[in-house]
Amino acid sequence: MILTEDSVNKIKEKAKQYPRMKSAILPALTIAYQQVGHVDPVIYEEISSIIRIPALEIAEAATFYTMFHKKPRGKYLIQVCHNISCSLMGADSLISYLENKLGIIKGETTDDDIFTLVTVECLGSCATAPMMQINEIFYENLTPEKVDQILEELKNKD
């Protein structure tokens, strides 16, 4: 099993709440994604064995939702909103800045597997634009100095 005992228990615990087991698909994917960093057919099989829903139905749901990355990515997933409010506040420049700084273009992962850079659709931070989400955390009202500082702190953690 790729899923840890802790993840399995979390999935079982959550699944118990629902009147129908199929509703546990999205929460199970979320728990698996948080542990592994991506989801794939092996994970679908494992979830299937826990909640007793065919793996195909889990794959069907998983492939609809963009939040669950289907391939391994860097330790830190940098998601930059590039919709209208953020764009008006310089999201395009922010993306270029990150591309230059990390030496990758959007969609790519740094060679050391630390950072993956992607663009995403509106994250509800329109009045604190531009913004990026790194793993679970939102960073808002970004400036070049703030971006430098955030990346530096994350790098030093490793």
Binding site: I84, S87, L88
Partner: protein
Amino acid sequence: MFYSPVITNAAEAAKSDRLHLFKYVEDPDQDKLDTFVKHGGYAAWRKVLDGMKPDEVIAEVKTSGPRGRGGAGFPTGMKWGFIPKDSPKPRYLCCNADESEPGTCKDRVLMERDPHGVIEGMAIASYAIGCHLMFIYIRGEFFFCAQQIEAAMKEAYAKGYLGKNIFGSGYDLEMIVHTGGGAYICGEETALLNSIEGHRGMSRIRPPFPAIEGLYACPTIVNNVESLASVPHIINRGGEWYKTLGTEKSCGSKIFSLSGHVKRPGNYEVELGFSLKKLIYDEAYGGGILGDKKLKGVIPGGSSTPFLLPDMIDVNLDYESLVEKGSMLGSGAVIVFHEDTCIVWVIKKLIHFYRHESCGKCTPCREGTGWLEKIINRIEAGQGKPGDLEKIDDICNNIMGRTICPLGDAAVMPIQSSLKLFRDEWQYHIEHGKCMVKSDFSFG
């Protein structure tokens, strides 16, 4: 994790006898149950369970007649009234916290900073419709919101505000926090229900409406976070009081998310009927246009709503006045852009979003948004051709009104509006192969 640093007018709301949603959102302890109760929280929940009949609750909300704050603007009380009285099936309430309409960032603040207010509204709505299991569908990216709501829910359970036999009333109510997987379409109520059921988040054909056959084919009500957060205040102070807020037809207060080229972007709770001009220019709110540049246009109700030109912003922010100006109140997300913004570039940003978020169920929306994005990207890149605008018009007309859910219409409305209001600029772009003004915005 931490609160969004977004600006609010909580200080104004704290002093006001009329504003209520934002009264305590700057109090860092408002997310704790004790503080919430000290500020009058859960009083409405007690009042309801102490002796109001479900029908009386519905009547109180119907009296005041607030319209849904998620975007569609359907009257909340009327929606509740559609639940069949004689159905033997369980009923469900789903709070729609899938906030993702570009420009909209208001529900997030309520969930992060006043989670009990949302739960109280959900509980009262559940009681009104006879529901014993309520859901909140929070978009997957909002980890902190989900954490806050979950923590508040646990505290509410622990202190007897949720669970079995609440306050000895004999009424049971359970709650599930369900998080999404990153799909704008799940903010549409039938797609949201499909998503909770574990399906792909695609819209369902209506009828049957969710009130008759919703979640698990049972009677279901889906209400927006802000709509539900208003409910305790209506119960506490009465529908007649709530009706005195706002205008005659658009009652109540509403949070407007102000973003884009303004000096003080933020979330502002104001009474409906508030002046858009004041919201943008007044020092207490937007504070005017960034860099004191000239205003070019405003999207008044989230990225799905038609544009307003500078000479149209002398308008009151209520459902009727904006329709008169050819736009909509939508979710109350006011997006402002100044003279250095290319309109083709704006539309390019918008259509990308809708193409990406189209669920793919209806052909006109699935294919049409893709075609529109290709043509618009080509024009933006300087490769526009004569006849492109007519083609865009044609595609728009073939999407509008031809899809199961409003996503298709939402994609088309701002495009059609821009072709009408900024046609010269589109033509210039095609003829000269470049922007009339270059949108080149640095950050920070």
